[in-house]
């Protein structure tokens, strides 16, 4: 019966152990403290129970030393815990440099749409290889959702209108729950799915067995053309003119991850969030040296499509550019 009703969650990512260490320490602290308080309360209640001997309670005003002691010790304990917990947070929050798989996830009432970098699309399911760093970039099409995999001890809100990222490295083959943890309406409890963690070879077999859709970069390239982005933005190395004139917008080659200067002398790093903002609100942060004449694409592009455009722009590197 205990096999059917486990009392501990699976622990299947590199961060699960670090978080569980803090958790178990806290559990021990809670058990010990509660036991001590309960023993003191019950013990003294029994020991000092009123007997009909006319005895008066001993009046004790207090003790500054005791007060300092029992506010000082908890203070030190919680500060230690804060330091430890925050160190684990910083550790688990920072995405490793060697991202193996860049996954895009869009939440929508009431499903998770998962887009693999290799073109596979899944709904309420995600297949990943064990031992690889997977980075998830997520957003929502409607209300706030939250992508939660208990076995990986990770959870992050998918907020409409912005991107959030989380990452994991699975350590154990198996299938694990995906839950939506932020209440999102009628079928919130059915916005669930499975992560399948596979051995790398098996994962390759799975990739091969599925018919991939367009890879995001390719879809993005097509969008880039059909939305006529290319009439202002250069996408190829060594090109300096569009239709025989100076381009009206900054070149997209190598732009991702670079710091660019803005018209108002601010600087901004080109990341997913900035590209999304520039597509929807081009006037917000205009690159220095260009006129603010780009139209907005708000309402013309879905969240999926913006993510594809970002994937395409990311791929425009000066060596090995696809074009």
């Amino acid at each position: 019966m205990w096999k059917d009703f486990p009392l501990l969650p699976d622990s299947a990512s590199t961060m699960a152990n670090q978080i569980d260490m803090v958790w178990w320490f806290l559990v021990a602290l809670t058990v010990v403290m509660t036991a001590l308080i309960a023993a003191a309360v019950v013990g003294m209640t029994i020991y000092f129970r009123k007997k009909n001997d006319g005895r008066y309670a001993t009046q004790i005003v207090g003790s500054t030393q005791l007060e300092i002691l029992w506010s000082g010790i908890p203070f030190l304990i919680v500060m230690g815990l804060f330091g430890w917990g925050t160190a684990v947070f910083v550790n688990t929050q920072r995405t490793p440099d060697n991202v193996d798989i860049d996954m895009y996830i869009v939440g929508k009432q009431w499903m998770w749409k998962v887009q693999h970098p290799t073109g596979q699309r899944e709904i309420n399911a995600m297949h990943v290889p064990v031992g690889k760093v997977v980075r998830i970039t997520q957003t929502s099409e409607d209300v706030i959702h939250s992508f939660f995999v208990p076995a990986f001890r990770m959870k992050r809100d998918a907020v409409p209108g912005r991107y959030s990222q989380q990452w994991f490295e699975a350590t154990k083959v198996g299938t694990y729950h995906i839950f939506c943890a932020e209440y999102c309406g009628s079928k919130h409890a059915q916005m669930i799915g499975w992560v399948t963690v596979m051995e790398p070879e098996e994962y390759e077999r799975w990739l091969a067995s599925t018919t991939p859709g367009e890879v995001p970069e390719e879809a993005g390239r097509k969008l880039f053309e059909s939305m006529r982005c290319a009439s202002c933005h250069i996408t190829a190395q060594g090109v300096s003119q569009i239709d025989g004139a100076a381009p009206r917008g900054p070149s997209m080659v190598d732009i991702y991850g670079r710091e660019v200067a803005l018209k108002d002398n601010r600087k901004v790093v080109v990341d997913d969030e900035y590209i999304r903002e520039s597509i929807l609100h081009p006037m917000a942060k205009v690159t220095a040296g260009f006129e603010p004449n780009m139209p907005t694409y708000e309402g013309q592009l879905g969240e999926d499509q913006i993510l594809q455009l970002i994937a395409y722009i990311k791929s425009l590197k000066s060596t090995g550019t696809k074009q």
Partner: protein, 243 residues
């Protein structure tokens, strides 16, 4: 340390004193039964109003926070949207309110110095200035209505180019903040009517004018809110015309 039986510690003050005209302490009697004397009553009333005004600060505070957040997010949109407000009318209204605060303060001074006629005149003037403010505000609102600047599905995005949606947020905040302020002005006018009726019936004397003073506190507070609203909403984009 020692303790005494509680009985020994509760000396008696005669009950029923509140129904007499003067209390044991010789201070004027309170107008409500549960106070010891008028001093206690008036102090309680003043503290009550101050506490209420702190609540009001937090009430407007949420809107000021929202304004600050969005202005930081969309500075250009706020500049553009602000330029559609009529800073001249806003300025006139600012003057009207400042003068009304002056007449409010003068009416309390008149109560302290028993100048009944002048006191009544100043109360009426305060009310009239308040009403003037609301009339001007009405004209401003109806102008916005005609230009489809009321936030909502019919909002005139075209006027703001790229920044249509964000300008709508500005106008949402504009109407929420000035609307809440105007509501407070209307309450203030009611308060002025009450003060006027009480003042005419001789309720306020140099020794007893707390009711007027706390109404004044409220009035000054509402004026003060406007002193913040005016630059934040109207002056922000006023130079946009000149540019």
């Amino acid at each position: 340390m020692s303790t005494e039986p509680i009985l020994a510690t509760h000396a008696a003050a005669p009950h029923g004193a509140s129904h007499a005209h003067a209390t044991v302490s010789g201070l004027p009697a309170p107008t409500a039964h549960h106070f010891v004397d008028l001093v206690q009553q008036e102090e309680a009333e003043k503290l009550g109003m101050w506490t209420f005004l702190i609540t009001e600060v937090m009430f407007f505070g949420a809107l000021f926070t929202a304004y600050t957040v969005y202005r930081n997010m969309y500075p250009e949109a706020f500049l553009l949207a602000s330029s559609k407000l009529n800073w001249r009318l806003g300025g006139v209204n600012t003057l009207v309110l400042i003068v009304s605060s002056l007449t409010m303060a003068m009416s309390i001074r008149c109560a302290q110095t028993s100048k009944r006629g002048l006191m009544l005149m100043n109360i009426v003037l305060t009310g009239l200035f308040g009403a003037t403010f609301l009339v001007i505000k009405y004209f401003e609102y109806s102008e916005k209505w005609h230009h489809h600047l009321m936030p909502g599905p019919t909002f005139n995005y075209a006027e703001f180019g790229q920044w249509g949606p964000q300008a709508r947020i500005f106008f949402s905040l504009y109407f929420a903040m000035t609307g809440l302020h105007a509501f407070h002005m209307i309450v203030g006018l009611g308060l002025m009517t009450w003060v006027f009726i009480k003042a005419r019936s001789g309720h306020f004397t140099p020794r007893r004018y707390a009711g007027m003073e706390i109404s004044g506190l409220y009035w000054h507070f509402v004026d003060l809110v406007w002193i913040f609203l005016f630059p934040m909403l109207y002056l922000l984009g006023a130079h946009h015309h000149l540019a």
